[in-house]
């Protein structure tokens, strides 16, 4: 055997690849980070396996076995890690010069969530053989979405052109929730149509960012410089305030109709942040915050759920076994974890076979991680979200135009703000709202929506300079508006 045929074969493959216009590009940083992620997840799974062996031996009244190195859920973990490397391979083959940090960061967060789902009682939720298997399915679908968007999205015309169409889709989703929504724990978040069910507000947050990016980038100059004089005050241009008021009303509506405090808070916060990003006018933010305070005050007196949540937040220990139960137990979980935690599987004492917090897998994963990974683990998880946001903002500041900048900033801020809202709720810094911890919480809608975000961010991060999309064919109406505003 000589090297000749092999080299020749490789050359043939290369020729074929070039013919198909595939030019693989090595992604060394991503590969290194993914190897680290794989190592961390395997270590976590072994830790969980060892804890389980010790616990089982204890219950049987025996000495724990000498060999404790065993994976708790080898198949699930193998599939997930293989999935991560397959995404990496696809991105290498695609040959685009895109971000290499986002995938490993998302991968680690998703993996930590998966370990948590493996660790929790499997019958908490999920149709597909239990919590962990269902979560794995959604994670794999999420990775496929990331791959698809990161490889295929090469221009953004379909996003920027049809912003009002997207807005219509968003409103449609809201209506869908209103009509087909099912009340779960007093909140109308879930829509069930036939065998499918999901939480539209998760997808809505992506659509909202796309719409805002389109709207704000187009009207940026006007919003930045015009002003209206009302008496002694110079206010932002009133005609352009309309969407702001609309946003405020939508957020309020989401609260009143769906009792979805978390989503409303998220929408409004992201809206204000993007408004500031695009206009740099602090006055907008101040005005928005004033509207928020007024709205919140109104809701406190009108909506029982809001009042309950705020009262619990003020003093959860007033009724530790009733209304404040979940919040108090979450704080206890953090407290039990202490600095370094109990180790995966070592905490969350079960009462009658159930974990101490009912909504552990959806609303309180951070409390679970706080107990089992300790303060150190919490800081690491929070750090991962900051990395995601930092990458997103970096992509935004390097973007080719305002639309892409605001889009990238909005997408990453959605993840950052959402993580903050639920983490702060768990830690009693703000009232608790039922929103997911991105990539960690159990749930398909949340994972899919956040995967869309990461996929879009990776696509937006491409560094080759592409020609910008052609200007939109301006309508007669549009020309009139432009003339009037100028």
């Amino acid at each position: 055997m000589t090297a000749g045929p092999v080299v020749g074969g490789l050359r043939a493959v290369g020729r074929e690849a070039r013919r198909l216009r595939i030019t693989p590009r090595f992604r060394g940083r991503e590969l290194t980070l993914l190897l680290f992620v794989a190592f961390a997840l395997v270590a976590g799974d072994i830790s969980l396996g060892a804890t389980r062996l010790v616990q089982a031996a204890q219950e049987a009244g025996e000495q724990p076995p000498a060999d404790l190195v065993v994976l708790a859920a080898p198949t699930i973990l193998t599939i997930y890690i293989a999935g991560l490397f397959l995404v990496h391979a696809a991105l290498v083959l695609a040959g685009r010069r895109t971000d290499q940090i986002l995938l490993p960061t998302m991968g680690l967060l998703g993996g930590i969530g998966l370990l948590l789902m493996i660790r929790l009682p499997q019958d908490l939720a999920g149709r597909l053989g239990g919590l962990a298997q269902t979560q794995l399915l959604w994670l794999v679908i999420g990775l496929i979405i990331v791959t698809g968007l990161a490889v295929a999205v090469r221009n953004d015309v379909w996003l920027r052109r049809y912003k009002y169409t997207w807005a219509a889709v968003g409103v449609g989703l809201l209506l869908l929730t209103f009509v087909f929504g099912r009340d779960i724990n007093g909140a109308r978040l879930t829509v069930t149509i036939g065998p499918f069910s999901g939480q539209p507000s998760e997808l809505l947050k992506v659509i909202l960012v796309v719409f805002l990016a389109g709207y704000l980038s187009e009207n940026r100059p006007l919003l930045q410089e015009e002003s209206t004089r009302v008496g002694p005050f110079r206010l932002p241009p009133l005609p352009y305030l309309a969407p702001m008021v609309a946003m405020w009303a939508i957020a309020l509506g989401v609260v009143i109709v769906q009792s979805d405090l978390g989503a409303a808070l998220l929408f409004f916060a992201v809206f204000l942040l993007l408004l500031y990003v695009s206009t740099a006018r602090v006055s907008f933010v101040v005005l928005g915050l004033a509207a928020f305070v007024a709205g919140a005050g109104l809701l406190y007196f009108v909506v029982d759920r809001v009042r309950t949540r705020i009262d619990i937040w003020v003093d959860p220990f007033a009724d530790p076994s009733g209304a404040g139960y979940q919040v108090v137990q979450a704080l206890h979980a953090f407290a039990r974890g202490g600095l370094i935690g109990t180790g995966l599987g070592g905490g969350l004492p079960s009462i009658a076979g159930r974990p101490p917090i009912p909504a552990l897998h959806t609303d309180f994963p951070l409390a679970a991680l706080g107990e089992e990974l300790g303060l150190v683990g919490i800081l690491a998880v929070l750090g991962l979200y900051l990395v995601l946001v930092e990458r997103g903002l970096r992509i935004a500041s390097a973007a080719q135009d305002e639309f892409r900048a605001i889009l990238a900033a909005g997408l990453s801020l959605v993840i950052g703000v959402q993580a903050f809202i639920i983490a702060a709720g768990n830690l009693k810094l703000i009232p608790l709202t039922g929103i997911t911890l991105p990539f960690v919480s159990y749930g398909g809608s949340s994972l899919l929506a956040n995967s869309v975000i990461v996929g879009l961010l990776i696509a937006l991060s491409e560094r080759t300079r592409e020609p910008l999309p052609p200007p939109r064919v301006t309508s007669r109406f549009r020309r009139l508006v432009d003339r009037g505003a100028a």
């Binding site: 010790v54 204890q58 724990p64 187009e218 940026r220 100059p221 930045q224 410089e225 002003s227 110079r234 942040l273 500031y276 990003v277 740099a280 006018r281 602090v282 108090v328 137990q329 704080l331 206890h332 979980a333 407290a335 039990r336 202490g338 600095l339 070592g346 969350l348 004492p349 009462i351 009658a352 101490p356 706080g370 303060l375 919490i378 800081l379 929070l382 900051l386 946001v389 903002l393 970096r394 935004a396 500041s397 390097a398 973007a399 080719q400 135009d401 305002e402 900033a409 801020l413 950052g416 903050f420 983490a423 702060a424 830690l427 009693k428 810094l429 910008l468 052609p470 200007p471 301006t474």
Partner: protein, 531 residues
Amino acid sequence: MAGHERVGGTRPPSRFPGGQRSAGHARPVSGSAPSWAGRRIGIGAALGRVAMVLAFAFGSLALGAGYWQVIESQNLSTSGDDAAVIAAARNVLRGEIFDRDGARLAWNKRDKNDEPYRVYADNSLSGVIGYANRQFGTAGLENAWNAQLSGVVSADPLRELTRKFQADPSDPETLKTTLVLQLQEAAAKALGRNRGAVVMLNPRTGEVLAMVSTPTYDASAIADPTTAEATFQALQDDRRTPLLPRATQGLYVPGSAFKIVTSMAALSTGAITPTTTYSNQPAAESKGWLIDGFRVRDGHHPMTGNKALDFREAVEASCNIYFAETGVRTGSEALTDYATRLGFGAALPFDLPTGTSQITNGGGSLPGGFKDRVEIANAAYGQAEVLVTPLQMALVAATIANDGTLMKPHLVLEATGKTGTTTVNPQVEQEVVSSGIAHEIGAAMRLAVNGDVGRFFTFGAALRTMVVAGKSGTAELGPGQEPHSWFIGFAPYDDPQVAIAVLVEHSGGGDVKASPIAGDLLRAWRNWKNG
């Protein structure tokens, strides 16, 4: 953040609507811009500020996590609301409880979820051992020694710190109590369907040998999760209040049994001597002794005739007038002082929570809070506002039996965990009276059981096999109510080893119910003692 401007600068301006207006994001505000708006900054700079806001928000999250996980960690994770503490109570096998001879009083079974629940040896234990149930909590000894029995709290702070790293963090302790199961059963049987209480203890050591409250209840049914709810509800609705541990928390008028307390104060302060007599006493018995417009009445003058009684005879005949006069002569200050030494006026130093025995309601102007001399006179023979717990009266008898020294009553001999055994040693609580005075009162109590006059009031308490000393009581409760029946005493007279208090609610005079029960139980004690 400079990237955006670089890219933006290279952009063909004409291809993006509005691009001309925004080209160069760091462009200073033109003259036409409103003055309030300040200097315009570009998207890059705005993104930087947003990033700072978010970093600040996440910093506050880190501080919040630090607060709960470091500063509040200890407080929260050891509180009773903590899931780990609750789970330990559910999952950990509570330590078993034994009587002093090794008979099992409480142990564990497992339900269908493999969670343990408590089982108790006998209903007679309900008033002292109590119960432990995950829904309804704990009572009695199960409550008082809960930390040791469930093993969640360790006395050693260093062990507490490293607890969560140990393979098995809990260390439930086994309790060996001072109780005697066969005496418990005998007492419950003797009280029968009556409501009442029996306390038996070793006067030399303060070890409680028997402590029974009736009606008893089935503590195992409360502990068993399948029957707990219904049982507990029924017991709470029961008008006979079986959940009240009468021996320690029931408060009753003591009647003549209280004369022993008055005797201690009177003899110790020298208000009377054993030979003191009151010349007006025999005559007063027909019409009552008048003090400040109130007549102290007495009912047994036919038996004593016209003789003026001395101290021993007054105890034997249980003469109310003698003690009313003695009480007034002793004064409320000395009475209060000696009652306080015996444990009145405060919860008793005991494993279980106790009711507070009192000699007056307080609030009066005389020392100790008495209203007037009439109240003192009536209190001196155990009426007026005197209220006592059966345990308190057992301690009164035990103090006489132990030469005037009150030993601290206790229920646990040993607590044994993985790390070793803690022993509870006898402890002197109070030197109440001198041994001479204790012997004088003891001699009078011997007559009250065995004397020609006394045995009519304490019928059934005297034994052929052993000399018993004691004092009966008939607590008058006012018109229309049967009096409470009391007996307190000790045995054997020459070398007291057991003190006893028997209370039977609304059952008539001391001789009717309490004295025969005391006799039965002292016989049972002797049988137990002789093996």
